[in-house]
Amino acid sequence: MEAVELLERLSTEWGISGYENRVAAFWEKTITTVVDEVRRDRLGNAIALKKGAGEEPRPKVMVAAHLDEIGLMVTKVDKGGFLRFTTVGGFDPRVLLAKEVTVLGKKPLPGVIGAKPPHLLSAGERKEVVKVEKMFIDIGYGETRARELVSVGDPVVLKRRFERLQGKTVAGGPFDDRAGLVVLYETARELERVRHEADVYFVGTVQEEVGVRGSVVSTYGIEPDIGIAVDVGFGDMPGTSEEDTIELGKGPAVALGPNIHPNLHRDLVEVAKSRHIPYQLEIAPGPTGTDARAIQISRTGIATALVSIPLRYMHTTVETLVTSDLVNTAYLLASFIGQVDKKYLEGLKWS
């Protein structure tokens, strides 16, 4: 499957934090064709192992992207059958109004996030951001039927529509971090052609959006020599500073900062240069808000890297990216992993 098709397919699956089963299942089904083993750990992380050609014990490289997306959860079936909800993960409440949703009750229920029409708003109300606690979901049923179909705690997902924009640009979501899952698949596919000594663990992690949780336990279990997180980074757009963003279509951003082993950063950049893969830099002054945060401090410490796919409008239903960035990221990772051997691990030691 081509990257863009896989992205479209993965982004139609539902999987808010803690309920990633559908995304995991589809991703496993796809990646299993290009790896040796696939398993699920006790918290639901999907782990695909592609064995290396080196002699045992082989170096272990873990490449992680998260399965989960941010979403909503029912907190109350209110009078009239309207559903009150809370957010799971960091939503900007301003992007929630007037959205189509699916409530995962006894069966999937279409609904809309309702709002008072502008005609009835006072001048003051019109200027104010509506708080999540004031919003509600209308599933078109009265209270009795709503109570039969919906319980407190049912997940709610935002409707997504995959849009092919100009060139290689696509919009929709959640590409955070389904784009990373596509990169993992593409990397594994690329590694079919590249001789690699290391065992490579491709991990679809759970519950990243609620506190990088899945990577805590999956890293502990795998105990890799090198960990690489693949996530999305803030794409350039008006109103943001160039300092804080990366450009769409200019290749993956290779992060640097305390969360990143300096040699891994240096060597990813070297590989990009020597293979003529476009790349950018991203500065992370402290622990990043990605799986790299947890991977680095697992057990006795893991040499960790982070590559970010440029993405605009993060945490909305119109996340936008350029698919060539996915392919380039995968190519970069596969090329890098191809050179990881025992000697390379020795070189990671601090002098």
Binding site: S241, G257, P285, I297, K349, W350
Partner: protein, 340 residues
Amino acid sequence: MVLKGLSEAAGVAGDEKDVRNLILDRICDLARTEIDALGNLIAFKGKGTGKPRVMLAAHMDEVGLILSRVERNGLLRFKKVGGIDDRILPSQPVRVGPGKVPGVIGAGPVHLQKPEAQRAVFKTEDLYVDIGARTREEAEQVIKLGDYISFVTAYQEFGDGLARGKAFDDRVGCTALMEILEKDYDFPVYAVFTVQEEVGLRGAGTAAFRINPDLALVVEATTCADTPETEEHGEATRLGQGPAVSLMDATSIADRRIVRHLVELADKNGIPIQYRRATAGGNDSGRIHLTRTGVPTASLSVPCRYLHSPVCVISLRDLEYTIQLLGLFLDSIQKGGFRL
């Protein structure tokens, strides 16, 4: 003086190499050493099979800056690494990157600012480092994106037995740990010089996981506000009144058996000691004590005024007392005078 060299070395969190090498130079003949995946320097001393396994920890890193963008005109934008008060940044001299390129933190002159702007704190994003380069290309010949930027203060002793300098947090702890490696022990002592404490206690936990100690003692520099404009009950510690032993902070509750023992040892040997009279803040104890099945942990700190600034002030007597007490603590374990 070990502290002078350590204090003047650059070691922003994530870039502790210079400090590590300095320490390694001094201790490599005294102890077996190892550097782990994150860059923690672990020095081992004593008998491997004895009990208890003791971990001492001091962090090598300091707060600082990281270069995040080179402007067309050669000025450097930066982000903070660790907790720095924005108000202390303007007009500080700094060193940039491995080449230690000198620079200054500039801000618009007060003459050109509107009155309301004059009253506001400079934000990090409004400041920049000027290394004298006139263009991006010129700057990029000596620096590169992601370079760490550190303060630069010459260590100086002054006043009544005080010293001023940068990064006393936690080079005083490093100094103390280096001192105790001079002696031998008949139980395993791991002196760990940790990385990345200032960005979330990142190094200590992985080192503790490896060592799996029976007890741990963190040697730190801690807040001291025995200064004007602070009420007595907010001063946390006082300079010159000996090492401060923590009871509780935001990341851990000290093991009371260790605390009691430290206080008793100090009292018995005429060493002044004080409690850290605040619960805000945290240190490596926060990670160490929660490692594996749990590690009884306490911390002993040298009071330090103006923490996280380029002009830290300590009392050298406090440091001396801290080293003495640390030595007595290890001696008492050696003699079987302390068991958990």
